[in-house]
């Protein structure tokens, strides 16, 4: 890694005061009057980033030495990958952030053509070590490729050439959920950092901070359930909070009469209420097919998502000690199949029934 | 082959009636004094469309002018070589030039009238969307051309290549007064006669081919069967067989059988499998072969095996796997007697639909899929229904018009309810239509209609 840090501090040519006007999607969002809280409360400095000590330390060193290796950040969604690199870039370039950073995410077209033209063109622009206002700054640009695992392999291959060629003036930062979806030649050219899931306390802390600043009235119970639902995903936690705030408090500035409750949160997040899960297992245990049919029918009418149901049920089944391992394995095996079919368009009713009858038979076995 | 070309109408082995048809067309043209008539001659390959045209033209003293397309290819090649400066004319322009110039400026060498024959169509017209261009040329020809024009078309199975359908729709035919004559594949008796004549001729002119050996009657019969009404093919095969005479026949047979890899019974059969063109099954025939799969016991291994290799059946339908599978699906139920067998086969059909829908890697997948279905049909049916069941058409044919009608109804009514908001297809058919019918059936006193 040291080798990476030492590399390329060469180009000192002063051409290129402005580097074009690439605008990421994020800019557009900022034009909107109300900024989503996710953006508003993004960490401004690397030190603000919650947890992820390892990465932060490295980045801090980099900031001090004004250099950066090629980075590959990966980890669960909402753990601060994008926030971290954006914060670092802001610290490096200050107000000239826009000229030096190209941000592309999966929503932009990212076929080979884009890699070949857009990325290449940006990479080939010269970067001076002095800012237009005379202050020193690192002589390179950063290209951030968000959601890099959604790129096609061909595009990744095209990227690898560009990465090699442009090391002198450009640093790449790839962000993805699954490092295994990035082709080997690219991972070997990057310093990899894994972002760990955030602990409940950290999420809670952050949410409380936001609630305080935005004047959100919310039950502790509700807060706790947000944290629960988010499962260490900060983005999800914050958006859930904001959505419920929007719906519950609205323009009503005080929002006093309407504190957000746990029920609201559950409704907002599309979670299936616990009652359905336990009922379901109960019915399967009792080996009552008629009841199972009725249950599934009713469940459908409530319009909850069947895949969400399975997500939650899987956890419940795994944790339930009264179910034998054999039963668990039968059920979870089926669940995998059924959840896959659901995602590809299978009927919720039939898939639920299929799983239900399997579970029913599994409980029979004892 | 060339040397055997028919010279008089008597030599032609087309059905005399058809010859008469063509003659009539010529005569009609002369009687009416209209010289720029257009004829469409359609027939299977090798049904001697061109030969007939040539012979009869001669009879009526016409010079035959054929649209030849070669020069054109050369020019295109030139283009590709990078010589961009070369003045290059579009195919369609060349075609137009041919039609109009040739017909207007009579050759100085002969005072005979000319007849234009177009057999190879310029490619550009075959592309979708270019039909209009072709029609304009035709119309132009109709107005200024002076000579009769004949288009010769070969029947094909594939839709996209069907010139008849695409370039000569009924509308255009009516508009331009295009006549059509359909040629049938040559019948077995006529073919037999022709081959005999040829053999006789060959003997007369032994100097042309000193090695000529007269083939036996059985071989001729097989050649005829193989050719399926294609005289060109038959003559070529005859030539091949007759020349082979010098080589040891049995040797020949062995090497050929290995290549063809099919089950064979009689020696003559063997020869023919070797020399015949690839067996072409009609789609109905092919489906029948899969559904009424013949099984026989292998004399060596004592295992039951299929008489017809599923691969070779599949090979015949690679260009249209979808159609084949659909026809098979429409007809398979009649040949099954056990519901358990049906269960197994429908399982395969269900999987096959998934494969057929998959568009990635479609080329390979669809070939495999076709094979899967054919094998499935051959193997799954352990207790075939007794008696022969003819293959009928597609089972859903009669429902297509209903579907069309319902859809039209939906489109016209979808915004009538719901306060002018769109109604989804599903809601419309599942809920509204049924009740609307009910309301109507109770007739008067209805509050809604």
């Amino acid at each position: 890694m040291d080798a990476f840090l030492k590399s390329g501090k060469l180009s000192s040519s002063k051409a290129g005061t402005s580097t074009g006007s690439q605008k990421g999607v994020k800019d557009k969002k900022q034009k909107e009057k109300p900024i989503p809280w996710v953006e508003k409360y993004r960490p401004k400095k690397v030190d603000d980033v919650v947890e992820q000590q390892e990465v932060c330390n490295v980045l801090r060193d980099c900031l001090n030495s004004s250099d950066l290796p090629n980075l590959l950040l990966y980890g669960q969604p909402g753990t601060g990958k994008t926030s971290t690199i954006l914060a670092a870039a802001h610290q490096l370039f200050g107000e000239f952030f826009k000229e030096r950073v190209l941000e592309l995410n999966a929503s932009d077209d990212r076929g080979i053509a884009v890699i070949r033209t857009k990325v290449k063109n940006f990479a080939q622009l010269k970067a001076s070590s002095i800012r237009p206002d005379g202050k020193p700054c690192p002589p390179f640009k950063i290209i951030i490729l968000d959601e890099a695992d959604a790129m096609t392999h061909a595009a990744q291959a095209a990227l690898r050439r560009t990465m090699e060629k442009e090391t002198r003036t450009t640093r790449f930062c790839l962000i993805c959920n699954y490092v295994s979806r990035i082709i080997e030649p690219i991972t070997s050219r990057c310093t990899k950092f894994r972002f760990i899931s955030l602990t409940e306390e950290k999420v809670m802390e952050r949410l409380k901070l936001i609630c305080g600043q935005e004047n959100v009235k919310i039950d502790d119970d509700a807060l706790m359930s947000i944290v629960d639902i988010s499962g260490g995903d900060m983005r999800k936690a914050i958006t859930t909070l904001q959505s419920s705030y929007r719906i519950k408090c609205g323009s009503d500035v005080q929002g006093t009469d309407n504190p957000i409750t746990k029920v609201d949160i559950l409704e907002m997040s599309g979670m299936v209420p616990e009652k359905f899960l336990t009922d379901f297992i109960q019915i399967c245990r009792k080996n009552d097919f008629q009841k199972l049919e009725n249950f599934v029918e009713n469940f459908m009418f409530e319009a909850y998502s069947a895949s969400q149901f399975f997500d939650q049920l899987s956890e419940l089944i795994v944790m339930d000690d009264s179910i034998t391992n054999e039963q668990k394995s039968i059920m979870l095996d089926k669940m995998g199949e059924v959840a896959f079919r659901l995602l590809s368009g299978g009927s919720e009713y039939l898939q639920l029934m299929n799983f239900g009858s399997t579970a029913l038979m599994a409980f029979e076995k004892k | 082959m060339q040397f055997l070309e028919p010279k008089t109408t008597e030599d032609l082995i087309i059905h005399p009636k058809k010859i008469e048809d063509i003659r009539k067309w010529f005569m009609l043209g002369q009687q009416l004094g209209k010289s720029n008539r257009i004829l469409l001659l359609i027939g299977a390959s090798g049904s001697s469309k061109l030969s007939a045209m040539k012979v009869i033209s001669k009879e009526f003293d016409f010079n035959v002018c054929e649209w030849i397309f070669k020069a054109e290819v050369d020019r295109e090649l030139l283009m590709e070589d990078g010589d961009r400066g070369y003045h290059y004319k579009k195919q369609s322009e060349l075609f137009q030039e041919f039609l109009i110039k040739v017909s207007r400026y009579n050759s100085i060498f002969s005072q005979k009238e000319r007849i234009l024959i177009v057999k190879d169509f310029p490619n550009t017209f075959l592309r979708k969307g270019n039909e209009e261009e072709f029609w304009t040329i035709l119309k132009k020809y109709k107005s200024i051309g002076t000579n009769p024009l004949v288009f010769i078309l070969t029947d094909t199975n594939s839709k996209s290549l069907n010139i008849e359908m695409n370039l000569f729709p009924d509308k255009i035919r009516g508009q331009l007064g295009i006549d059509t004559i359909n040629m049938n594949p040559i019948s077995t008796t006529l073919m037999k006669k022709a081959l005999k004549q040829i053999c006789a001729k060959m003997k007369e002119h032994e100097h042309v081919d000193s090695k000529f050996i007269e083939p036996t009657q059985s071989i001729i019969d097989d050649i005829i069967a193989q050719s399926q009404g294609d005289i060109r093919n038959a003559i070529m095969n005859l030539q091949l067989v007759s020349q082979q005479g010098s080589i040891d026949l049995s040797m020949q047979t062995k090497s050929r059988t290995k290549k063809a890899g099919k089950a064979k019974k009689t020696p003559t059969d063997k020869i023919n499998k070797g020399v015949g063109r690839d067996e072409v099954l009609g789609i109905f025939h092919g489906v029948g072969r899969a559904l009424h799969a013949k099984k026989e016991e292998d004399p060596d291994t004592k295992k039951i095996k299929l008489t017809h290799n599923p691969d070779s059946v599949a090979d015949c339908f690679l260009s249209q796997p979808g159609n084949y599978i659909e026809l098979l699906h429409s007809n398979y139920l009649k040949t099954f007697s056990s519901i358990d067998d049906v269960k197994d086969f429908t399982k395969i059909m269900s999987a096959s639909d998934i494969f057929q829908t998959e568009y990635r890697n479609a080329d390979k997948l669809h070939v495999l899929n076709l094979n899967l279905v054919i094998r499935g049909a051959m193997v799954c049916n352990t207790e075939p229904a007794k008696g022969f069941r003819p293959i009928t058409g597609y089972a859903n044919k009669k429902f297509r018009s209903v579907e069309e009608k319902c859809l039209q109804e939906y489109l016209s009514q979808s915004t009538e309810f719901n306060d002018g908001h769109r109604m989804s297809l599903k809601d419309y058919f599942v809920d509204y239509t049924g009740y609307l019918k009910l309301f109507k059936s109770f007739g008067a006193g209805s509050s809604s209609l």
Partner: protein, 359 residues
């Protein structure tokens, strides 16, 4: 004269008959400056569209109800011309992109771009965005859904999307996370009965309690169907009687008959007849998933638990394949054949058991 379903459709959020709390929440949402993308989900006949219309009215006032029909044309990359019919007001446009079949992606990218790029004509409008209502989003191909997600981000400045979805399981998570989900549960039997009574009151009819309950339970908690049934009852016979027949729609009767035919005989010949009937249903526009569900429900009722579980097992397999594939009849047929085979064995076993018992 409009049908009752349309006549008594609430036009304002405050007049909705059930999910009142949700209506209040929606109203509050409409009052705010920033309006998110919305996704309404629920079974058919639960009232999603009604709510969407109410939200539009809340946003733009009554002029959002002045509608016109338009057809939009576009060309696919393979040069095919496709027409899509839309319904629009000055402020919003409604379309069903799955009308375009496999070209739905083109609709999403091209048409929405077109709409999004033309700004609102009304200058004194309260909103600086247009609304695009997309129906049956769950029927879109995955390709189109990904395109949709891009579109949502790209044109967020000029338009908002309101999606109408039956089953959220078929919507990719990226879309779900970009929308505020509004769950529209089907009305309960009591709620349906309440609404039926209201309608009868307005029409000056007397609705016996028994009949109301009957309709509610037959409607499968589908309000639209319940109201249509009520009107059908009225047309059929009025004054109402307590034990009056609730008329069945023809396709339902037809499908039930088909199921009975399957139960009566299990042979290839019978299957062929059943297949013709299925073709007929499909050609009349009855969605195959509904056919599938009804068949499974009717058929499984006749079997023991072990057999039932088998039925659901392969029903779920074939139904899934049907959604994946393109020829629905193959899979429906495979299901029926499978059922016949199992049911036949089951019957034989049952008779053997009986014989044993007799001995």
């Amino acid at each position: 004269m409009a049908l009752w379903v349309d006549k008594y459709r609430p036009k304002e959020l405050s007049k909705l008959d059930y999910h009142k709390q949700q209506a209040i929440d929606l109203k509050r949402l409409c009052e705010q400056q920033d309006f998110p993308h919305l996704m309404f989900f629920g079974c058919s006949g639960a009232g999603k569209k009604t709510r969407i219309q109410c939200v539009l009215r809340e946003l733009y006032g009554p002029s959002a109800e002045r509608l016109r029909n338009e057809t939009m044309n576009f060309t696919t990359p393979s040069n095919r011309k496709i027409e899509i019919t839309t319904v629009s007001s000055n402020y919003h446009i409604e379309l069903n992109p799955s009308d375009a079949g496999i070209y739905d992606r083109v609709v999403i990218t091209d048409i929405i771009k077109q709409i999004a790029q033309t700004n609102i004509i009304d200058t004194n409008g309260q909103r600086d965005f247009k609304v695009i209502v997309l129906t049956e989003v769950d029927d879109l191909t995955k390709d189109a859904q990904h395109a949709l997600r891009r579109t949502m981000e790209k044109y967020v400045a000029t338009c908002r999307l309101i999606l109408c979805v039956n089953s959220t399981s078929r919507v990719i998570p990226a879309i779900k996370s970009r929308c505020l989900g509004i769950r529209v549960a089907s009305p309960t039997h009591e709620e349906i009965i309440g609404i039926l009574n209201q309608i009868c009151q307005k029409e000056n009819l007397k609705l016996p309690a028994e009949l109301a309950r009957n309709i509610a339970s037959k409607s499968e908690r589908n309000l639209r169907r319940a109201i249509l049934m009520l009107e059908a009852c009225k047309v059929q016979k009025y004054p109402f009687t307590n034990n009056q027949d609730v008329p069945e729609i023809d396709w339902q009767r037809f499908l039930n008959e088909t199921a009975n035919q399957i139960l009566m005989e299990q042979s290839p010949a019978r299957l062929e007849k059943v297949r013709d009937r299925l073709y007929e249903l499909l050609s009349q526009g009855i969605p195959p998933d509904i056919i599938f569900k009804v068949l499974v429900q009717v058929l499984s009722k006749k079997c023991e638990v072990e057999v039932k579980s088998q039925i659901y097992e392969f029903a779920s397999l074939y139904e899934f394949r049907m959604q994946m594939g393109s020829k629905q009849i193959y899979h429906l047929e495979a299901f029926v054949a499978h059922f016949m085979s199992i049911y036949k064995k089951y019957l034989i076993q049952a008779t053997e058991m009986m014989m044993d018992m007799d001995e």
